[in-house]
Amino acid sequence: MPTNLPLFYQVHFYLFGLLAIASALAFVTRKSPVAAALWLVSVMFNLAALYVMMDAHFIGAIQVLVYAGAIMVVFLFVVMLLNLGHPDELSDIRGKWGRLAAGLIGIALLAQIGVLLRTRFLPSLQPPTNPVFGGAPDRGAVGTVAQSLFTEHLLAFELTSILLLAAIVGAVALGKRKTITAGTAQ
């Protein structure tokens, strides 16, 4: 482990860590379930950034796709389905400062994308070179995970498919409306 990490790395590590903690605190203290869910999405994005900084690029990607993308959408969908959000807290029209901050963040993100388009493969964007992962650059960030997942842990990987099938069947069976007298679905 390199102990003398660059300052850039350390600052961002602490930044994302503190943002994650702040978002988690906001998540626990919000009254509205919708606001809580959105703060939890913020926690997950910050954790994804930390995963990428800790050489787990693939985990960071599926953190955003599966957790922030799929699971939280299911949560929000159920909140909406059960009509639990408090409409008075959910006004989507922000004040002047909110709009200003949103605009500034948007401009900053656009500038970052522009800079990244002009730059050719920064050294910091290379695949992980952590010696623990056995010379990763030739296989990329996904290959290191896939190698272990499809050889050592193949049985567990196949068993997760059964788990998911059971979960799907269970969710459908539980979510279905009970029709005790046949043919009279509500």
């Binding site: 953190q63 639990l84 290191t144 269970g170 969710a171």
Partner: protein, 97 residues
Amino acid sequence: MIPEALALSAVLFTIGTIGVLTRRNAIVIFMCVELMLNAVNLTFVALSRMYGVTGQVFVVFVMTVAAAEAAVGLAIIIAIFRHGQSVNLKNINLLKG
């Protein structure tokens, strides 16, 4: 950076536990459980930097289990809501003697 990541993981897990113990909305409690799972994932990823890629494979499994748990748990919550028109745990006391 591993000690910091482990400390952050502990803090997030504690916040999730506090949420589970203090909130009354069943869906928010489920989200707190997701936060606790995320904290554990952070531990796995941090330690995988030291002990090899197996930690990241475990994170994949944890995410799968979390997805399955969310699907079944939310279906149960919907069933409870149909039964009692509420997801507040104060009103869910069928198992109380």
